[in-house]
Assembly symmetry: C2
Homo-oligomer: 116 residues x 2
DNA sequence: TTAATATATGCGCATATCCACATATATTTT
DNA sequence: AAAATATATGTGGATATGCGCATATATTAA
């Protein structure tokens, strides 16, 4: 029961739903989440952590970046059962469409990206 | 998005999951919920109200009783999509099984029930 | 090693949540 | 109308949550 409560709490927040929405598009680093949602770094990081802890996300490191993506189906049965529902629910929302739009224009800066 | 947040918050609490669990068995009045879960009257009433507001429950009056039951599928798409998941999730839990057991022994008292 | 960049986290504050207690409301019975 | 019963709700207190700010940590580049 505690797992279900954790999953539900993870979905009980607008910031986290917005994060799931853009991660349905593609894997993102923290700074891309910040840019797409126009939120602070600590806010992005903390909410990504909550979604990861609830089983929605998987993190991997690539250089200085932490890349977050939706978990595989095997990781968390509840979370992945909900994902199709979420995707459908996210399709007709102004804010979420706006976030996805900004994601397309977001830049991943850092050592790995030499400036030209 | 706010509707999804409301539904998620409704599921983010152990008391409310326990209420959904016994209502999967059958329609209940507030005093039966109190007895099955061994909680106070105000706690039962308030949490039933939260589940109703989120679209999970429907209430009808019968004399002095308020009878709560799971909503029909048409009422709330999100809530009803989750119900089968919940049902499966509730099956192997000690607390929830105990609640269902107490529900079987609960008594609906009141003016309608003449003592013999 | 030092500097630079990306991310995580300690902390304090504002707000939300949950509960028990007391009380208000609604319905039925007398 | 008054009493009895079931339920809803106002209130205050304890705890949880979400955030910004500052700082710590991790990795890479020089």
């Amino acid at each position: 029961m505690q797992e279900l409560i954790k999953v539900s709490k993870a979905l009980s927040d607008e910031t986290r739903l917005r994060i799931l929405n853009i991660l349905l598009e593609r894997e993102c680093c923290v700074c891309e989440v910040m840019q797409a949602l126009e939120i602070s770094q600590s806010r992005a990081s903390r909410n990504l952590g909550i979604l990861e802890d609830a089983g929605f996300l998987t993190a991997r490191r690539e250089g200085t970046w932490m890349l977050y993506s939706l978990s595989e189906s095997s990781e968390n049965r509840i979370a992945t059962a909900l994902t199709p529902l979420l995707k459908e629910y996210f399709s007709n929302n102004e804010i979420l469409a706006h976030d996805r739009e900004r994601l397309r224009h977001s830049v991943r800066v850092g050592p790995g990206c030499g400036e030209e």
